[in-house]
């Protein structure tokens, strides 16, 4: 890896695939993920989803409100060739709940609402508390990304994940299975 890091090397479709995988997996697994260290994690699409045309960096579809990923508009947009550019997640680990937006090809962490314990008081205490949970959030996103990456480069991506995603994207009345 160069000093500039992986961001400089990876093509932009990797982040779009990651966002799609998060969205798909959170729905089909009812939010339940298991990390590489065996710990449990819950991940849900929160209240914002932005999609773009492939080859265009500007978002052209923006869905907000409760569970935007479950709307027919969101699935139709992906079925029609759009890819996720930004999504807001609710991530829950033990009793800590994070709300965070993942954005762009760098998988930037934005608008992170952190489950801090120390709200006021000495700067040092507030800072240490916030940095602890910020670090955990960064680690969780990286862990999810690693899990995605391993699946993305495996043979099963084309043979089973992509077909399952296509099935998942079917309109409810067309799939006949409710999903």
């Amino acid at each position: 890896m160069s000093e500039e890091g992986a961001t400089e090397l990876l093509p932009p479709h990797i982040s779009a695939d990651f966002y799609l995988w998060l969205w798909y997996s959170s729905e089909v697994k009812n939010g339940k993920f298991t990390l590489e260290d065996g710990s449990a994690l819950e991940v849900y699409l929160d209240d914002r989803l932005a999609l773009r045309e492939t080859g265009d960096d500007r978002p052209t579809t923006l869905l907000t409100g409760d569970s935007p990923g479950t709307t027919p508009e969101a699935r139709a947009a992906v079925s029609g060739g759009k890819v996720p550019k930004e999504l807001r997640l609710l991530i829950r680990r033990e009793d800590r709940e994070y709300h965070v937006t993942l954005r762009g090809s760098r998988v930037g962490i934005a608008q992170a609402k952190l489950p801090t314990q120390v709200k006021t008081g000495e700067v040092l205490e507030v800072l240490l508390d916030r940095m602890f949970v910020y670090e955990e959030l960064h680690w969780l996103v990286a862990a999810l990304l690693r899990q995605f990456a391993v699946e993305r480069v495996s043979e099963s991506w084309r043979s089973s994940v992509v077909p399952a995603m296509r099935e998942w994207l079917l309109p409810l009345d067309a799939s006949g299975s409710g999903g």
Binding site: A6, R106, Q111, A112, L127, M131, V141, V162, A174
Partner: protein, 205 residues
């Protein structure tokens, strides 16, 4: 929103290079050397940038480490002041000045040289009355794990942060995304690079 309260947004950086032993005196000096310096003249036009404290943007002295160094975290802010005259307002006032000049000198038109002189005088007058637009973005730097967060996600402020950080501490700040964590798994980034875009269009067909 920022490091100490509210939702946290921004770019994360990896800091390349070691923090020297007994760095505090050197870094106090470095931060003070690159602190925000307000222009001497009230008619100064354009931007000035430098470090300030997160607690109050008017505090630009870093002598007291208790105000910016918290265990292994350095906490400070980039302040950028920009002073400009509103172009439309300048044009409108200039029009009035030119009309007055024509009347006073009984001339139908203002010569170009005079117009420029009137414009410069007017701009200086307006700059004296104008307050700068002040922006600040916080930085937290974990000096033992060598990463930092800059609380802005736009290109220009981030470039400015990287340049000033390098000039101040002699250390490079390299953008660091969660994608960079993949580098720890041998062969994974290279395998990802070779993948094509996933096409799920026409679900089920």
């Amino acid at each position: 929103m920022g490091i100490l309260k509210g939702a946290l947004s921004g770019r994360r950086y990896r800091i390349v290079g070691d923090v020297p032993e007994g760095f505090t005196d050197d870094y106090i000096h470095a931060l003070n050397t690159n602190q925000l310096r307000e222009p001497q003249s009230p008619t100064h036009k354009g931007e000035v940038a430098g470090w300030c404290q997160v607690h109050n943007l008017l505090d630009v002295d870093f002598q007291d480490i208790n105000l910016w160094l918290y265990n292994h975290y350095a906490l400070f802010a980039l302040r950028v002041d920009k002073k400009t005259v509103p172009a439309k307002l300048l044009r409108a006032h200039l029009q009035k000045r030119m009309e007055a000049w024509c009347k006073q000198n009984n001339r139908p038109k203002v010569p170009a040289a005079v117009k420029e002189e009137l414009r410069e005088t007017l701009e200086l007058e307006m700059l004296q009355k104008t307050l700068p637009r002040v922006q600040t973005w916080e930085i937290v730097w974990n000096m033992t794990e060598q990463w930092a967060v800059f609380t802005n996600d736009s290109e220009l402020p981030n470039e400015r942060f990287q340049k000033l950080f390098l000039r101040t501490f002699g250390l490079r700040a390299i953008p660091w995304s969660p994608l960079d964590e993949l580098a720890g798994t041998e062969g994974l980034p290279e395998a990802l690079v070779s993948t094509g875009a996933t096409d799920v269009r026409g679900g089920g067909r």
